[in-house]
């Protein structure tokens, strides 16, 4: 095997249970985002754009859609002769095998894979975040600081800091303390779940951690605190820019809405830092004379006859005349018939909303309104009103043909 300076390990096994029906059939990193992408496109594209061309993708939960989507990595130009993308689900060994018990265990079980490339550094990424980041700058920083481990951090609003793993640092960016979801945060530098390790050092810690029965085998819970207690050189790499955890329905919806912002921090149109994805062979979308489209993004193959406001429309969506789609995310292949009203909803792939139906939650106090999630392949009947999330589990009678989401 060709030696690689830095190998990326992308943790993509998350179930994403807080995304509810959106992850019933697919792993969280495969959840569609932003009119054409899936969440995992962001770390994969960042890898390619940062010059990291060896990426192990660790999968576990409902991995078929993810494996099928990534294939040999051609969409991200990661079908390389030396390196490229490798799918790494849990596997069976001579003495049995087991699921990945935690993030650190997942890497530990694949240490042979990493050793093949004899790298100096390993960068650990997660498939749960929307952001554009040049990992090569972080690697330079890591080398400059002669660190054993570098943790990507971002400053979050103080009142939200208790939701994150918080790093306290000295004036030289050295990590002095790490608190997982502290009640009283000492700092607002949140860990982004991005780590660069010197591979020999990490390997040693992983092997030790594997023997520790009290460990949860997690980077944040176990490995980082242990390295800190051993006074290893841990530094925090400050990242500035857009970064969003899309682990909940609310945050996924919000991240989609952020794209519509006139001064969106996440510039999808920058040709120097493209987010790559699979490209459906579809014609340009058609916006009819009856259509009114404002503050929205619309993908290929759509036919739009109705009104679309502040929404994200994936490929192959039909929006009939007199329909109004507001503040919503409409995934690929959805059919919205005439005179439908959809407000603040996420409509899953290939769902059909029949003529005259309304999909919108009743307004609550302080103008707050819940997000309605319509699961993939649901059929919303004629003139009905849907005020809360629906899926085959909760509304069997609305269940269309179940298809695989890959």
């Amino acid at each position: 095997m060709h030696k690689q300076k830095c190998v990326a390990m992308l943790l993509a096994g998350g179930q994403g249970s807080r995304l509810g029906v959106l992850t019933q059939q697919i792993a969280k990193p495969a959840v569609p985002f932003g009119g054409k992408y899936r969440i995992i496109d962001f770390p994969l594209s960042n890898c390619y754009n940062s010059g990291i061309e060896t990426v192990g993708v660790l999968t576990q939960y409902k991995h078929f859609a993810l494996h099928n989507y990534i294939g040999i990595g051609s969409a991200w130009d990661l079908d390389r002769i030396h390196g490229g993308v490798y799918m790494l689900p849990p596997f069976v060994k001579e003495e049995g095998g087991e699921w990945y018990q935690g993030t650190a265990d997942a890497i530990c079980q694949n240490s042979n894979f990493i050793d093949r490339f004899n790298p100096e550094y390993v960068i650990i990424l997660s498939g749960d975040h929307i952001y554009k980041m040049d990992y090569s700058l972080m690697l330079e920083f890591h080398q400059e600081k002669q660190a054993d481990a570098t943790i990507g951090v971002i400053e979050v609003p103080w009142d939200e800091a208790s939701r994150f793993g918080i790093m306290s640092t000295d004036e030289n960016d050295h990590v002095t303390q790490f608190d997982e979801k502290p009640i009283k945060p000492r700092s607002n530098k949140a860990s982004m779940g991005i780590y660069i390790f010197n591979w020999p050092v990490l390997k040693k810690y992983l092997l030790e951690d594997e023997q520790d029965e009290s460990s949860t085998h997690d980077f944040g819970h176990d490995i980082i605190p242990k390295m800190l207690s051993h006074k290893r050189n841990l530094v925090a790499y400050p990242f500035k820019g857009y970064w969003k955890d899309v682990g909940t329905v609310e945050s996924l919806w919000q991240a989609n809405m952020d794209l519509l912002d006139e001064e969106s921090e996440l510039d999808m149109y920058d040709a120097n830092w493209r987010i790559y994805s699979s490209n459906p062979p579809r014609p340009p979308h058609y916006t009819a004379a009856t259509a009114k489209v404002k503050s929205s993004i619309i993908s290929e193959g759509c036919l739009v006859y109705g009104e679309v406001n502040n929404s994200v429309i994936f490929p192959d969506v039909y929006i009939g005349a007199g329909a109004v789609v507001k503040n919503s995310v409409i995934m690929a292949g959805v059919v919205i018939e005439d005179n439908v009203v959809i407000n603040k909803a996420i409509v899953g792939r290939k769902a059909v909303v029949k003529r005259g139906a309304t999909v919108s939650a009743p307004p609550q106090q302080h103008n707050k309104q819940a997000i309605v999630v319509v699961a993939a392949n649901m059929i919303i009947p004629l003139d009905s009103t849907i005020g809360m999330s629906v899926s085959c589990r909760t509304n069997e009678e609305l269940c269309g043909k179940e298809e695989d989401e890959s």
Binding site: I275, P284, I297
Partner: protein
């Protein structure tokens, strides 16, 4: 595996067909329908007909075409067995020789044709924009026992696009009796699609015979001259066909795509149309956007008003701009307050603030590639 048909795309063109749009590129590479180039249709039709062995006889000005096709991966033609073959023109072998016609190109690439494993060959050009399955025509070809099957469409031609258009005259059993130039008329005519199916061995024979006689034009000398010698049948392709042969009809057929029926048929009927992938993000409509009856490709950023128009990938329309009855190609930027009517902007054109440009509905104004106005 049933793999009996190979494809040969003939890019020979006699005239400067589309004026400024085809001055620096072959007709095959002329952008069309918001994200494609003309060759995408014939190429995708072949791929959708399960043809995996495609040779493209290039003629000249082919840099942009090579850039577009590359390995053929986007059409699923980057293969170990068969795939996409770019066949250089005859004059590259013998630069001193005068270029006379496409048969010379076929002749200098006979190795490729005779080495191919398939029994039948379909020969087609990029000027017929349609969505069809060649296997249906092949079934007709076998059923009639024809030596050569030519495809035709029922269409009209007017003064703008009759030049170079041929009418097929048939007996009741679809056997071709004669072929002649069509005359402008408001009636439907049986117009040749310049698409032929025959056994590969017959093609080799026709080409060798032509060369031996000193002939050089494939249609005139290999096909028409042989109408009495071979059994030539005509297959009626019933679908929508755009015949791109002049700037006027390029413009007209482009505008046809604003009819969703035609849009659906051309892009979805017997298969999808593939093209070079660009990884553009979806189109973004800003709050001031006012778009009506338009095709909008990915990567567009719209703040202005767009009506009855086609925007290619990555077009930027600034506030207060008004684009009407126009075709705006890839990466153009239309400045604030600009008014365009019946205009075709080739790639990378920048129209600066408050300019007003106007063509006529039967004579669109073409702005050359990369111009800043």
């Amino acid at each position: 595996m049933k793999d009996e048909l190979m494809g040969l795309i003939n890019l020979d063109e006699q005239t400067e067909t589309l004026g400024d749009l085809s001055r620096l590129r072959p007709l095959a590479a002329v952008p069309f329908a918001g994200r494609y180039r003309l060759i995408d249709f014939v190429l995708s039709n072949m791929v959708n007909s399960k043809i995996t062995n495609v040779g493209i006889c290039i003629q000249n000005k082919y840099r942009s075409l090579m850039d577009h096709l590359r390995s053929g991966k986007d059409w699923d033609l980057a293969r170990k067995r068969d795939g996409l073959f770019i066949l250089p023109p005859a004059y590259t072998n013998n630069p001193m020789q005068i270029q006379r016609g496409d048969v010379e190109n076929f002749y200098s690439n006979l190795d490729f044709i005779s080495k191919s494993r398939q029994k039948y060959v379909v020969i087609a050009g990029p000027e017929m924009v349609t969505n069809l399955d060649y296997r249906e025509a092949l079934a007709f070809h076998k059923h009639t026992g024809a030596d050569i099957t030519m495809l035709y469409t029922k269409g009209k031609c007017n003064t703008h696009d009759c030049l170079g258009t041929n009418v097929v005259e048939m007996a009741a059993n679809q056997q071709v009796i004669s072929r002649h130039d069509s005359k402008p008329s408001s009636d439907y005519q049986d117009i040749s699609m310049k698409t032929y199916i025959m056994e590969k061995e017959l093609l080799i024979q026709l080409v060798k015979d032509c060369i031996a006689r000193g002939d050089y034009d494939f249609i005139k000398h290999c096909i028409v001259k042989n109408i009495n010698k071979y059994k030539i049948y005509a297959y009626h392709h019933q679908g929508y066909v755009a015949r791109i042969s002049s700037l006027q009809n390029y413009y007209k057929y482009s505008m046809d795509l604003l009819n969703p029926q035609i849009w659906k048929e051309l892009f979805f009927k017997s298969g999808l149309i593939y093209t070079k992938v660009k990884d553009e993000p979806p189109a973004k409509y800003m709050i001031e956007a006012d778009v009506s009856n338009a095709l909008v490709a990915t990567g567009c950023y719209i703040e202005g008003r767009v009506e009855n128009s086609i925007l290619f990938r990555g077009v930027k329309v600034h506030k207060g701009a008004y684009i009407n009855n126009s075709i705006i190609m890839q990466k153009c930027e239309i400045g604030p307050g600009v008014i365009l009517n019946n205009v075709i902007c080739d790639k990378d054109v920048v129209i600066t603030a408050n300019k007003q440009l106007k063509g006529e509905c039967n004579y669109p104004l073409v702005i050359k590639k990369g111009q800043v106005i």
